[in-house]
Point group: C2
Chain length 344, copies 2
Amino acid sequence: MTSATARQIVLASRPAGGRAALSDFRLEEVPMPVPGEGQVLLRIDYLSLDPYMRGRMNDARSYAKPTQIGEAMPGESVATVIESNDATLPPGAQVLVSAGWVSHAVADARDLSPLSADGIATRAYLGVLGMPGFTAYAGMAAIGKPKSGETVVVGAASGPVGSLVGQLGKIAGARVVGIAGGAKKCSYVVDELGFDAAIDHRTPDFADQLANACPKGIDVYFENIGGAVWKAVLPLLNQYGRVPVCGLMAQTSGNNADADDGLASTMRAILTRSLTVRGYINYGFLPEYRDAFLRDVGGFLRAGQVKHLEDVTVGLENAPQAFIDMIDGRNFGKVLVRVSDEAA
Amino acid sequence: MTSATARQIVLASRPAGGRAALSDFRLEEVPMPVPGEGQVLLRIDYLSLDPYMRGRMNDARSYAKPTQIGEAMPGESVATVIESNDATLPPGAQVLVSAGWVSHAVADARDLSPLSADGIATRAYLGVLGMPGFTAYAGMAAIGKPKSGETVVVGAASGPVGSLVGQLGKIAGARVVGIAGGAKKCSYVVDELGFDAAIDHRTPDFADQLANACPKGIDVYFENIGGAVWKAVLPLLNQYGRVPVCGLMAQTSGNNADADDGLASTMRAILTRSLTVRGYINYGFLPEYRDAFLRDVGGFLRAGQVKHLEDVTVGLENAPQAFIDMIDGRNFGKVLVRVSDEAA
């Protein structure tokens, strides 16, 4: 039976000085929403926390409109239908929904598709088979284009995007070097994911270690960090190097906001080494690559050729701390919040 | 009859403090070269002066090896065969040759192809139908891809590359805004070449004028300047904007070498607006685009749809001053040196 109230986490204030704090979020109780005609009431099972959300907390031009103060934080979830006014989606059906940081939501049934797990836990559709996985796949398919014998470097290598980028590089026959924070993550990407090397970006001689790990230079750098890592990568990029720009965690988190030098050397490298530096938004590639992604990565997963790791926090009330930990690099794997006690 | 000596201009010293000076060049008399078996002796008619030569004067990693001190400056020419030991290239045949800043040269006949003018002066093969023209064509065909209704911005707009970039943009149906130095060049690109607007990059409110000239933003920015112009362009670039990076005159000439800030905002724009910033070397595109270029631009020239302007200096001894003038933006059109008194 459905309780009288739902819960949500709203943006209480914009992060001051660049870093998000617990006080920038507020947990609220709200009346349980009621589904109208053709609608369903959803119980959120797992909420996905993703780096792009940090950008939405700022009042700045970006992909999408900033989240407003007092508005629920945005986000994607796997949810279960618990009340239905539509025959195509009976209670018990599982769906993917973009409802934000909430415990329950009402949605039009025609906007939802039932998830078929097909031997994979449905929460994979928030990670390796969802937008993070698609982001990795599309960036590599459309821009990175790794070839056998080339060298691929990827940051945040143990995260949901980076871990798939590297595994796709290995499947393509490339040498893959991961960049991660801390010995545990570095061991994981080498020992569990099969990367050829991993460099801890916190070590003082990071740039030297990266150069040593890339004796034939870098052909594909999957950029999701920016800042100091970019400056260590730049001199190693080979002629015709490709740089999918997927994120700039070091910049958007505000940890490195004042490091603005290096434009002239960057442009000079782009010119003299015929580099391609190309930003993209994952959903821009959906029409072209969605089917191939589900087929290829779904197949790799079932065949055990691709591994993925989930970092699950229990309880919506703990989402802000889990989010801050992720921004600070303390997560280990795809960050999910188990919102419902009843989630599978 | 052939004189006993030839002339050449060598690199005497590397430019100090970034700016090339007359004292960095030296005119030398050398023995007239003698063609061997299968070779021809060439009289250089017109020598092309091009911005890339400034980079070769530096001792720095670039596309190609730096010119050595005491070595002839590199360069392409249109030349006439004056002695021949090969039946396929009789005296009087005209060829394109990469012989450097010299009055005469010996070359293997099998490396040369006779030029067919077909109603166009052969020196056009140094400009609009040569590497500068090809650089414009390939950058627009492979990277810029202007569409009808879009806005194209190009720097050095009255020069041999920029003028063709803009005219190709107009032929594609785009709005075209040129950036040039001084009122004379600005008038030329609007009145003679048919650009929609031209902005003088020397005016103090350059960035404001550029924004006003691009009310719908910028879709294609053909980058051949760098520095302050890039910073004015960056905020105007639209979603999915394309930036062929063809040159960085403001950086390589040393006039702007210390302006290195702006990397973070550049990377952020690439990310959030899905920009493609891609460097290229003209000859890298030759296999793919050479035939289409000669067909298309040759056709546009004969039909009067594309105009070009030549800035001819008389005498090899005046090449260094003409080169410095070009680097400083005092040329007006494609810079050629008429090396031989007998050139057509």
